[in-house]
Structure formats: C-alpha cells, structure tokens
Symmetry: C2
Subunit: 174 residues, 2 copies
Amino acid sequence: MDLNALHKLGYGMYIIGAHKGDRLNGQVANTVFQITSEPPTVAVSINKSNLTHEYIMATGVFTASILHEQTPLPYIGNFGFKSGRDVDKLKGVNYKIGNTKAPVFLDHATAFLEAEVVQNVDVGTHTIFIGRIVNAEVLTEDKCMTYEYYHEVKRGTTPKTAPSYIAGEKGGKE
Amino acid sequence: MDLNALHKLGYGMYIIGAHKGDRLNGQVANTVFQITSEPPTVAVSINKSNLTHEYIMATGVFTASILHEQTPLPYIGNFGFKSGRDVDKLKGVNYKIGNTKAPVFLDHATAFLEAEVVQNVDVGTHTIFIGRIVNAEVLTEDKCMTYEYYHEVKRGTTPKTAPSYIAGEKGGKE
C-alpha cells in the first residue's frame, strides 16, 4: 500500500474563518468541498485540537476564503503554522465581519463562502462540519490555488494536524 | 449571494468503482478528499439515486481511480453521463478486481485507492461515505486532472446529480 497515492488527490487552498464572541480566528484548510447542490451545502474537515474547531463548535458558523494561485507563502504560513492561541493571526490582515459574524479574509481571496453548520461528523482526529451556504461572493477572476501547486510550485509544506499530512512526505521543510 | 463562488472550489476528478456480488459499476466523482491521516481515511459524496450508491451501501467498499490531466472527455462521459442501470460501463474499459472486490479502473489513472466504509453520513440528496484506506497505489507520475481544468480547458459539463451541479452554469453543454 503506497500512501503517496493520497498526494494525487486534488484540493484547493482555503482560509477558514471562525469566531467565539469577540474572538476571531482563521486557519488554512485544503478540504472544503461541496456536498449537495440543493440546498447548497459544503463540508470542511478540521482537526479537533485547533482553535478554529473550538470556535466552530461553539457558534456553528464558519467562512471559507478561496485563495488564488499567487497567494504568497508567508500569508499561508501565518494561518497554517501558528495557533490563534499563541498569536493574533488577524494582525495586519485585511478582513471583514461576515453575515455569520465570523471573519471573512479578503487578502488573496478569489471568492468566499459563509456557512451555518447543520451537522457535525466525528471522524476521530477531525470533525467534518457540514454547512448550509448563507452567503457567497466572487471577488476576482483568478484561478484558485491547488494544493498540488502549493506543494510543487510554491514548495509549501503540510502541518501534522492536517487531514492530508503524510509522515516523511517528499519536499517537506519541517 | 453568488453561488458561482462554489465554482472556485478545487477538486480532482475520479472514477469511483463499486460492486454488488458479480455486478460491477463505476461513476465519475469530483468530491474525494482525505479526512484524517491516522488512520488514513477518505470520504466521497455520492448521489442517492446513483447505482454506485446502491452498491456501496450493499457492500461497504469503494475504489477511487485518480484521473490524470490528459484523460479524454469520452472516457469521463462514459462514466459520468450514463447509468450502469442502462449500459455496461465496463465494456471496453481496462480494469482489475481490487482487494475489496470492487473494480479498479486503470485507464488514464495516475493512482488509485481502495477503501472500506466506516461511516455513512446522510446529507439529503447525497451520502458521504467515509472509508478507511485498505489499498493504494501510484501508477504514473502524471498530474491529476483538476475539476477546473475539466471545465475550462476540456469544456466538460456537470450532470444534475453531482454535488457541484449549479443550474445555468456557464460553459455547460446540457
């Protein structure tokens, strides 16, 4: 069994926004996907140890900003390799408060979605949050960054808490 | 609310294989995604009206062949716009019976996975099947076809039973 096959799966790159009262946070995710068209529903897989998980559990809402291909690595690093428990990830970042009261991140976003959670699925280390779309907007005509592009062209790496982390993966900088 | 934002989500393109006794079937899907790394687990969203849904429900196994970028449209059309109830989609197609007894489709595949379902999530029109990986193999070094590439370069369309179908979508041939 060659788990490098999992590297061949196609994904985009997203910043997931969440809030709990006045506290706001965001994190990188690559597993955002539409699951039904009627009603428009998406799902996202979030590690249970993440602050964003705690916030989505508390408020039942999340946003997803879809990153375009030219997103600089430091922007992704800020949201992907730090915890909102240690630093304020929103410092210096351009965002607005969405209809859901969660932050919508506007830098390098080609579109964004907002969703209200209708179902939580416990899948062990992660929860899949299934959310009904309550707001959506296209911001630019740019292509979304694919996870493959992030790895192969940008030479980006995957944190251990990601669903798609594979120990000893090629090209990692960790 | 502009649901064209959903078109910006990134996906790959896959043929999902399933069986029920001696009967074999396959269908196109774009929503295959890894949800945990330990143990390696993937999920796929399948329309309840599809024959593949009936087969996965019956046997609790599925395969996913990851299509490479140069996959010809007629190959996708055979699996995506026909029902295994009407035609034998496997006629003239190169496949093998996997460890799960479901068919693994080898034409135009850059890698494949086999999974045993550990959880079904009812999400209305679709079921999300969550499967533990029991077999995986990389077949070629090709890039996977992205859903965006399928739409924009190949000018492919989306059937109404897909999770990502959007009525009146641009560029559709239906």
